[in-house]
Amino acid sequence: MTKAGAILRFLACGSVDDGKSTLIGHLLHLTGNLYDDQVAILEQESARLGTNGAGIDYSLLLDGLTAEREQGITIDVAYRYFATPQRHFIVADTPGHERYTRNMATAASRCSAALILVDARQGVLPQTRRHALICALMGIRRFLFVVNKMDMAGWSEQGFREVQAQCNRLAGDLERFGLPRAECVAVPVSALNGDNLVALSPNMPWYDGTTVMGWLHAVAPGEGMEHAAPRLPVQYVIKVARPGGAWQEGADGAFRRGGNGTFRAYAGTVVSGSLKRGDRVVVLPSGLRTRVREMWCGDRLVRQAVAGMAVALSLEGEHDVVRGDMIVAEDQRTELAHLFKVRLVWMDDQPLYSGRHYLFKGVAGTATAGITRIRGRIEPDSYQRLAADHFSLNDIGEAELALSLPIPFDPYAENRETGGFILTDRLSNATVACGMILHPLRRTATVRRQCEEIGPPERAAIKGQRPCVLWLTGFSGAGKSTIANCLERKLYTLGRHTMLLDGDNIRQGLNRDLGFTEAGRIENIRRIGEVAKLMTDAGLIVITAFISPFRAERDMVREILPGGSFVEIHVDTPLEECERRDPKGLYRKARQGEIPNFTGIDSPYEPPRAPALRLGTMARPVWECADAIIAYLREHGLLPE
């Protein structure tokens, strides 16, 4: 979807009268996207109202509501569509008034880039900072600060540089607040005269950066949703029941030509990642495991669907899947949770207090939501977190939310589709808030003890966990790293502090000086053992993924570590299978004699005699292996709830 040629959705925001509507109108005109009769009407109206002396008042093109024209302000979002030979654009012109913040948020929620208007004479205003914050919270990472009305500021380079510095400070403050770094550029313009909109202006010879259109052409569209984990919320169940026939898993061949039978397909949009025919999937919340049997896009059978595609798919077997269920890839499951920490933009005139209940709606269905705790308000100007016991209209803040039932989700930072939601009032039906899931909540019983010296137990206690080393051993290609990564992700989402030691982060740094001789291999493992020990002292759960073929070396590590903290896990994939997988082509090279001393080929592997856990990976997906390790930790008290 976000390939070359897709649409760039962007908005113009910033404080009242900074020139948003003028900028959009003028851009449309300069790029040849206005019809003659529209220009004629615009000229007539401008002359009649005289809002811009004898010139064209471009805001009249955007402010389409009678009330807006009467009051000369923008109340709600206007959408405009335009195209250049390079790209297709959807632009949202938003209101600058604080009162209409929710309309601005409406626009921001679907955009991937923002033009933030700043009046060159006034610089960054509180409202500018509020809008930038909302854009950033909504996940927009590309900002163009359009420093406008340079004609009224004497085309002054110094004036522009000062405002640019304010914009950079704003961007830095967003980062300090904890939002990912955004791409920020500033451009000096006159929206009214057209300077630096599509061509560099002779009025500002000192400026040789990008024009507004240049930036819009260069910026990447979309958020890369195709790279996120595969998710398909079921929107609608397509049922065809023709008399006299049996259940049909697919709608191919005779059935499509009108044959008998009952057929069901699950319609929905792949909101992130991609799904292929034959993929193993899990349906949440039921946990049903099956496979994608067929997939259609309209009346076309397709092999694969990527983020943004609206498809209908059938599953292997006869199941009861309903609207609101979420189909996810088996090896990239989401969690189910019903307690969350969330960010809210409050949109209702009635304030929010904790204890209130609303209706929650997200792509994965609806539930009743109670606000269990207000964690604080975010000051929209300074981006400081302040204590608060309620949210008023347009407040932005953080709160804890309890749902009546667990829902599948992803944190908003990872997925704008499955991490966003709205709250509605059950009596008035009004949308009272939009929200973004930060993370699920779990209360950890933190043990507090008075003591003089901070030792390993204290460090572990403050993290609420029992440190240990999960030592994965097995052939090259057995799946150690894949399982280790999946395991670490799962522990992370359980709120655990972990560290993964793998060939990549050890061989290239700490052990860069070691070769692959026998002495080198032993020293390699010894150092890893020592590092793992320091990390357990620091209170971490350490996961390692090394072939470590020799018993003696593994026993050496066991002895370095405190008793009971070395958990030996044999990733027991047969050599034949590893060689068949050969993900890095190493076995092939070893067979050709290019890699000497290769474990399994010309160097032995000594399997553990009594591993804590033996994982067969033949008929078992990665996440199940990771779950087995987590189950082991739970059973042995290494993972307290």
């Binding site: 019809y35 389409g64 709600d76 569509y81 409406t106 397509i238 309209g298 709606k361 589709e417």
Partner: protein
């Protein structure tokens, strides 16, 4: 040329909107006005529910002044697809003899279109009403949500629209209240034609240039579609090669001089067009803000 990726993206997003609306509806309906936008919307609905037929009827507000070719096309389409078609006419207005010639376009539109639509929706108890309007058609449309709330009197409140976040519309409503849903909100006229070309979607032949009988009224060409058109003494229709950019009631839809006789020809013509689609729609110019006012009262 608009990159093909954009058209694909619009198509996929529209299908998602249609499914969402229908999934949350108790009684969905599609307003089928027989024009190009309706043809595209219907085509998208067929894709959205394939291999099932779209689970809603088509509703056509028949003012009795539509082009004859539109009515023929409408009936043929419904029959071909096996979909239920509700053709609704305001019988009261008909009895009172309300016509565009006798009552003026504004009063006529109020009675035969806006009132008729409200009556038809009430009669069917429809709560989710799909329509083919696009935001690029007109300034107040550009302000409307994709899922647009209507109170029990079918009124739109432009100053108090519900926020609309991500793809999670708030469709909560009480009995009698409804939503107008516009799956083509983000499409432009050119997108519509390019899509018609790409998908080979059938449209009413009136869109293609042909010799047709027309008379000149207020600087615009009006087609004489039947004998009800009052002609001034000595006025005789002339044959001109014209086509329609927008279709409605024949006395209110101006033809444009054009040689575009195929879909490709129309696409090429629009790529260098200098005037907007609305220039041929007479009712929109009655008064400033007229569309907004009509919409507030329940017009589409």
């Amino acid at each position: 040329m608009k990159p093909n990726g954009a058209l694909h993206q619009l198509e996929q997003e529209s299908i998602r909107i249609i499914r969402e609306a229908v999934a949350e509806a108790e009684r969905p309906v599609m307003l089928y006005s027989v024009g190009k936008d309706s043809s595209v919307m219907l085509h998208l609905a067929l894709k959205a529910f394939y291999p099932m037929n779209p689970p809603f009827p088509l509703l056509h507000v028949d003012t009795t002044w539509k082009f004859r070719e539109m009515i023929a096309f409408r009936d043929a389409t419904a029959a071909r697809l096996g979909m239920e078609l509700i053709a609704y006419t305001n019988q009261e207005g008909l009895r009172e003899g309300v016509t565009p010639f006798t009552h003026g376009s504004r009063a006529y539109t109020d009675v035969m279109k806006t009132d008729a639509l409200r009556m038809a929706l009430d009669a069917g108890g429809f709560d989710m009403i799909l329509g083919g309007a696009r935001r690029d058609e007109e300034k107040s449309r550009a302000k409307e949500r994709v899922f647009s709330f209507r109170d029990a009197r079918h009124h739109w409140n432009p100053r108090g629209q519900r926020p609309e976040l991500w793809s999670v519309p708030n469709l909560a409503r009480n009995r009698g209240e409804s939503f107008r849903v516009f799956p083509l909100s983000d499409w432009t006229e050119l997108d519509v034609w390019r899509y018609i070309a790409r998908e080979a979607i059938p449209v009413v032949p009136l869109y293609f240039a042909a010799r047709r009988p027309v008379v000149e009224r207020a600087g615009q060409w009006i087609m004489v579609d039947d004998g009800r058109m009052p002609l001034s003494p000595g006025e005789t229709p002339r044959m001109k090669v014209v086509r329609f950019r927008t279709l409605g009631c024949y006395p209110l839809s101006a033809a444009v001089e054009s040689r575009a006789a195929t879909v490709r020809g129309i696409v090429r013509e629009l790529e260098c067009a200098r005037s907007s689609e609305r220039a041929g729609r007479l009712i929109d110019f009655d008064q400033a803000g007229s569309m907004e006012k009509k919409k507030q009262e329940g017009y589409f």
